[in-house]
């Protein structure tokens, strides 16, 4: 039986550093190539030596597919392509290709310039890496080589996020990356057709959350910001340039609009403005509503959100500021933090994960005093809030996706082991399909049914269709085709007997058997035949029995009645060699009927 093998190098019963190896039909595919934000050492990147202990990696991997631009899904790509030396094809969507290099560059700066790490990829490496990427559009069917085909579906998690359908021969797999089944502020819901893959590899971040808690978190966030500014406080939101920043901007913009608030909202100039441009240009990837209204008003042209100037730091009164970078490790966001931290009416909202060693990480761990290099000590009196806004499918969404695409097996990644366990049970119970959840480095093997493409002669099919359609419709009736299987140049065909004779150039030799049954039945031969037909029809239900001119045919077996009106009749039963079973059965049947 053919197999599909899956080995997570990251994201196996874990969140972060997504990197999954998929082998089927002799092809090896790497799904995502992420880095772990929680580590500073070699555990940061997937263990590529697992694939091949030494020597070139390119010959071992047929292609790399990146689902979206988050660093835990693409962060190790420049490392793999420029430092490990992978030179094969890399696929991602257009927005991912546009945005990923900016995030990679951001992260590189943090790692190298802040933390002084060596052995990290350079800016040039990021550029070289992105040059090698092939951008794909949604639903485009891309032939990686003659056998390997991939196709992207909308995943909704962030701008440009995609799920990938991957096929080799008759085997197929869907990899979801991160996805979201409910449309949010700027993105639509994930969608896939009924592609019935052999395996669905699904993320399971919110495997146990049943209700969409994102709305609650958003409400919470807005309430806190509103309360803070109402009291005259200043709110600092450190963000990275892309992704969450735009979502939070839309969130605040619409809230300000609805509540008619006048407090100033700023975002730091530079990247974020540029980033908004990406969103404007890839507006076809956002949700219906934004796409419909963009001609009149582009959602990413913010009315209430103004560019920030450094001199505003000391402005009196309430304000909300988005500033980069997101982990408070350097730059503007840190400067603002130093000024605002000592006042308790102010607030800091961390909308994302913070790497160990950064100021952000310390604060989130409850540090009340932060000491800086120049011995400057800052007391943290401002309120600190951590909020995660990532858009993932909840348990209901995951079940929904399974229902949409009808996989034969499910494999869970990108989640915590305990939660996965719960969802695995649920999937196995509800859909009666196998569910797997390998840990990092563990291999799951999934057997798939063999399906061999074969060309069936139309003559054979038409003859069958004529027989089938001649009978009253019954969806349960078996449709059987008899013919000859022919293997030529490694290709299979299914032919009828005359066709195979032509194909090989032989003269068929037909063998026919005829036996006689004697039957005492006065009356005309036609009447006897009618009588026999009725009897046979009773015994042979589901077979096609026809009668014409006193000749009965049961499928291809012929029965003929001869004899004078008052005498014994001779019933001839005749069949060809290949109908021996049916012929001898009918003969036996007639013989027993006569007695």
């Amino acid at each position: 039986m053919p197999e599909i093998k899956i080995t997570p190098l990251g994201a196996g019963q874990d969140v972060g550093r997504s990197c999954i190896l998929l082998s089927m039909g002799g092809k090896n595919i790497m799904l995502d190539c992420g880095m772990h934000m929680g580590y500073n050492d070699e555990r940061r990147f997937p263990d590529f030596s697992y694939i091949v202990p030494e020597g070139p990696i390119t010959s071992q991997i047929d292609c790399v597919i990146i689902s979206h631009f988050h660093l835990d899904h693409c962060g190790a790509l420049p490392y793999m392509s420029e430092m490990v030396g992978y030179t094969g094809p890399i696929y991602m969507t257009h927005p991912t290709k546009a945005i990923a290099p900016i995030l990679l560059e951001d992260m590189r700066k943090v790692a190298v310039e802040r933390k002084g790490e060596s052995n990290f990829f350079t800016s040039q490496m990021i550029k070289d890496c992105i040059k090698k990427v092939t951008a794909v559009t949604l639903h485009q069917s891309v032939m990686v080589d003659n056998e390997l085909e991939i196709k992207a579906y909308y995943a909704g998690h962030v701008l440009g996020a995609a799920m990938f359908w991957i096929r080799v021969g008759s085997q197929s797999v869907v990899y979801t990356g991160d996805y979201n089944m409910t449309p949010d502020r700027h993105l639509g819901a994930a969608w896939i057709d009924k592609c019935r893959p052999d395996l669905l590899i699904s993320e399971s971040t919110y495997a146990t959350t049943i209700r969409d808690s994102k709305r609650c978190r958003e409400r919470d966030f807005l309430k806190k910001v509103h309360e803070c500014v109402e009291k005259g406080g200043k709110v600092l939101i450190p963000v990275f340039a892309l992704g969450r920043a735009q979502e939070l901007c839309i969130l605040l913009e619409t809230y300000w609009e609805r509540m008619n608030l006048k407090y100033p909202v700023y975002f730091a100039l530079g990247l974020t403005e540029k980033a908004n441009n990406y969103y404007k240009m890839f507006i076809t990837w956002t949700n219906q509503k934004i796409r419909k209204t963009f001609v009149q008003r582009n959602m990413f042209d913010f009315k209430h959100i103004k560019p920030f100037d450094k001199s505003y730091i000391d402005n009196p009164g309430a304000m909300v500021v988005f500033a980069t970078p997101g982990m408070l490790h350097a730059g503007l966001s840190l400067n603002i933090f130093k000024k605002w931290a000592p006042y308790e009416q102010n607030m800091l909202i961390m909308p994302g994960f913070c790497v160990q060693g950064t100021v952000g990480h310390k604060i989130l761990n409850g540090a009340k005093k932060i000491e800086f290099e120049n011995r400057q000590v800052v007391e943290v009196k401002m309120a600190v809030e951590y909020m995660s806004f990532s858009a993932h499918a909840d348990a209901k969404g995951i079940m929904q996706l399974i229902q949409y695409c009808e996989p034969k097996n499910v494999l869970l990644v990108h989640g915590e082991a305990q939660k996965m366990e719960f969802l695995k049970d649920k999937i196995e119970k509800e859909f009666k399909i196998s569910c797997y959840m390998p840990a990092n480095g563990e291999t799951a093997i999934i057997n798939t049914p063999t399906k061999i493409p074969i060309d069936v002669s139309l003559r054979l099919l038409k003859a069958e269709a004529v027989r089938y359609n001649a009978q009253p419709p019954d969806p349960k009736r078996r449709r059987v085709v008899h013919g000859v299987l022919c293997v030529k140049d490694n290709r299979l065909s299914f032919l009828d007997i005359d066709e195979i004779c032509d194909e090989i150039g032989i003269n068929r030799h037909v063998i026919r058997f005829t036996s006689t049954v004697r039957f005492d039945d006065p009356g005309s031969a036609v009447k006897t035949a009618e009588k026999l037909k009725t009897l046979l029809a009773e015994k042979l239900q589901g077979w096609s029995i026809t009668i014409s001119d006193g000749n009965i045919s049961v499928e291809s077996v012929l029965i003929k009645v001869e004899g004078d009106d008052d005498n014994t009749k001779s019933i001839y039963v005749s069949w060809t060699n290949q109908d021996e079973d049916l012929g001898s059965y009918i003969l036996g049947l007639l013989q027993s009927m006569v007695q």
Binding site: M1, H94, K97, A98, H139, Q140, S141, V142, K151, N277, Y278, M281, F282, T284, F294, V295, P449, T450, K451, I452, P453, I454, D455, S457, L461, E464, R478, R479, V480, V481, H482, G483, V484, L485, C486, V487, K488, D489, L492, F494, I497, I500, C501, I504, G505, I506, N507, R508, H509, V510, I511, R512, F513, T514, N577, Q578, E580, D581, S584, L587
Partner: protein, 636 residues
């Protein structure tokens, strides 16, 4: 396989292909040439047009014809709402269509005529830019034609008297089939049926076929369609370009080696090189503007317009005329300009690279921000009339000069020789477009820009694609000295109303064989490289997909199904002896011989290609006979 042709205009094609019990419509172009026979519909009442003299054919006194015809400078026009020539509806029943595949937005204008109020139940497929820009074209057309009011009833009587009218009206093709434009509601319904596809997306057509749109290089989202089943391939090439402009380049590889290639929508102006025309246009515009005149370009709201804006703005800047305002006037101008800049995935690599920076792929967004380019819904828009200044360049429709803002501007500027009108769209002969505005003092230039394939490019393409059969509209077929398409492959020529059979024949269908059933078969080599085995399979049909699976129950040893060659009677007798059936007596007969087995009440007639056993004995004798015969003949 059959091909029907429903359009007489090869550049606005409409074909129907019947294949595998499906009816597939390829494009639904709307021929708009007919509108040239009508008087223009001015957006503001024109005293000149209103005071044109009536025309009555000589020796005809028909009160019903009264007021239907007007004369202008020796030409006769119909004074009525303009009518269009939709695809022929008598050849194919539109309610039976399964699918409509649209190649680009210039070839979909007749969609509402086909899908609305015809009982149409099928699917329509087009790329996203085709749908969006097609919507702009159609909405613009519909708004202009309907805004001019339907107060005057449609003129009908003249159609009965066409033979009495002077040319070119007398030569009008089948005016009785002309129809008025659909309503806005019908248009919206028709467009809502369109399903959006991406390039290289395989669309499953009822399980029988895969249809794939592949880039054709002609305009944003323009596509050629490839229809593929396991054994057959049809390529429909319509509106393609091998030039480098703003859209994605043509994908030729996908079209190669088709069983049938249908070719349509080649260039309408084969004598004009589009690059030279663009250069000429810039020169004419500069000269006119320098002399203080304004320039009018009657254009469609998308397509070549983007190239014109890009080139002309750069050229004017170089010529020191950067202060000259550019206006785009169309009910859809804002949407069209905005949309073009979000279609990053559909533009050429060069334009796409700008998106990664990120900058808009087209420079017109920058021109708008800089205030050099302004757009307005209509001429009487406050925003437009407030800061309208001359000299300027105005881009507006409709290229036929029968409706839209262009009608008013021509009327306004006609008497001033300083102004110029430059025709770029190839759909209408410019002299005819201008006929109702004669006499004309403003300069008129003809710079048609049609980037679709010319004849030599098309011939080269066909040679490279190597189709097994080629189908063409009659306009492109050989005939005298005019340029035509010639190919090595057999060529089928179609014209409006014709149905032609094609040589594609189906022999086999693709199925999947399940592993369990395959394991039952033990193929034997019959000839070098060919193995065969008898097989009985249960057939499962799901979503028109075939599966061969093992019939339920235990697997019987497959019985020999096929014997061949002649039977050697002596060998048969020996084999019978081995089976314990003795006392065989052989007798010659007319076509072979007869083997008597008197002890078993059995006769065997042996002929060259057949053996007939008359067996009145027990079943075990028959089985022995079967084994004996089988052992004497090669079989599987």
């Amino acid at each position: 396989m059959k091909l029907y042709c429903l359009s007489s205009d090869a550049s606005k094609p409409c074909f129907v292909l019947s294949f595998k019990e499906l009816l597939i419509m390829l494009d639904c172009g709307l021929s708009a040439h007919s509108v040239l026979n009508f008087l223009p519909l001015p957006p503001v009442p024109s005293t000149r047009l209103a005071s044109l003299p009536n025309y009555t054919p000589p020796h005809v006194n028909d009160p019903l014809l009264e007021g239907e015809l007007k004369e202008c400078c020796g030409r006769v026009f119909v004074d009525s709402i303009p009518e269009f020539c939709p695809p022929l509806d008598k050849v194919v029943d539109f309610s039976q269509l399964d699918v409509i595949l649209i190649s680009n937005y210039t070839c979909m204008m007749a969609l509402p005529f086909i899908t609305e109020e015809t009982g149409f139940k099928g699917q329509v497929y087009a790329t996203e830019p085709t749908l969006q820009i097609g919507r702009f074209y159609l909405e613009e057309l519909s708004e202009w034609v309907s805004s001019c009011g339907s107060s005057s009833g449609a003129a009908k009587r003249w159609k009965e008297l066409v033979h009495l009218l002077p040319p070119p009206l007398a030569l009008a093709a089948r005016p009785r089939a002309w129809r008025r434009l659909f309503s806005a509601a019908a248009l919206a319904r028709a467009l809502s049926r369109v399903r959006v596809v991406g390039y290289d997306e395989r669309v499953d057509i009822y399980g029988a076929l895969d249809a794939t749109a592949v880039s054709s290089g002609f305009c944003l989202g323009s596509a050629n369609w490839v229809l593929r089943s396991a054994h057959e391939k049809v390529a429909y090439v319509s509106g393609s370009s091998t030039l480098t402009t703003h859209p994605r380049p043509i994908n030729q590889a996908a079209l190669r080696g088709a069983d049938l290639l249908v070719l349509a929508a080649l260039t309408q102006t084969p004598a004009h090189n589009p690059d030279h025309m663009l250069g000429d246009l810039c020169v004419h515009a500069t000269v006119t503007l320098r002399a203080g005149g304004s320039v009018l370009c009657p254009v469609y709201p998308s397509g070549v317009l983007y190239d014109l804006l890009e080139c002309l703005s750069a050229h004017l800047e170089g010529a020191g005329l950067a202060h000259v305002p550019l206006y785009v006037v169309s009910p859809v101008a804002d949407s069209s300009l905005a949309y073009s800049n979000i279609l990053a995935e559909w533009v050429s690599v060069g334009k796409q690279a700008r998106v990664y920076l990120p900058e808009e792929p087209f420079p017109h967004a920058a021109l708008v921000r800089a205030g050099r380019l302004k757009h307005a819904r209509s001429l009487h828009d406050d925003a437009f009339s407030a800061d309208f200044r001359q000299p300027c360049v105005v881009f507006c429709g409709h290229p036929s000069l029968r409706f839209g803002a262009a009608v008013h501007l021509v009327e306004l500027w006609a008497n001033n020789p300083a102004h110029a009108i430059i025709f770029t769209e190839p759909d209408f002969p410019y002299a005819e477009a201008l006929a109702p505005f004669q006499p004309l003092s403003m300069k008129a230039f003809h710079c048609p820009i049609d980037t679709s394939l010319n004849y030599s490019q098309a011939n080269k393409l066909v040679r490279e694609l190597r189709p097994r059969e080629l189908a063409l509209p009659e306009q492109y077929a050989g005939g005298g000295a005019r340029p035509h398409i010639s190919a090595d492959a057999p060529t089928v020529v179609v014209r409006r109303g014709a149905a032609r059979s094609l040589s594609v024949r189906r022999r086999a269908a693709r199925a999947t064989l399940c592993g369990a059933l395959a394991a039952r078969a033990t193929p034997r080599e019959l000839r070098a490289g060919l193995r065969a085995a008898p097989l009985s399979a249960a057939l499962r049909v799901r979503d028109a997909r075939l599966e061969l699976v093992a019939p339920p129950g235990p697997a019987p040893a497959p019985a020999p199904r096929l014997h061949w060659n002649a039977l050697d009677v002596e060998a048969l007798v020996r084999a019978l002896t081995r089976e314990g059936v003795t006392e065989a007596r052989v007798e010659a007969s007319a076509d072979g011989c007869i083997v008597h087995l008197p002890r078993h009440d059995t006769l065997v007639h042996v002929e060259r290609h057949a053996t007939h056993v008359f067996c009145e004995g027990r079943a075990d004798v028959r089985q022995a006979l079967r084994r004996a015969i089988a052992s004497c003949l090669p079989h599987i």
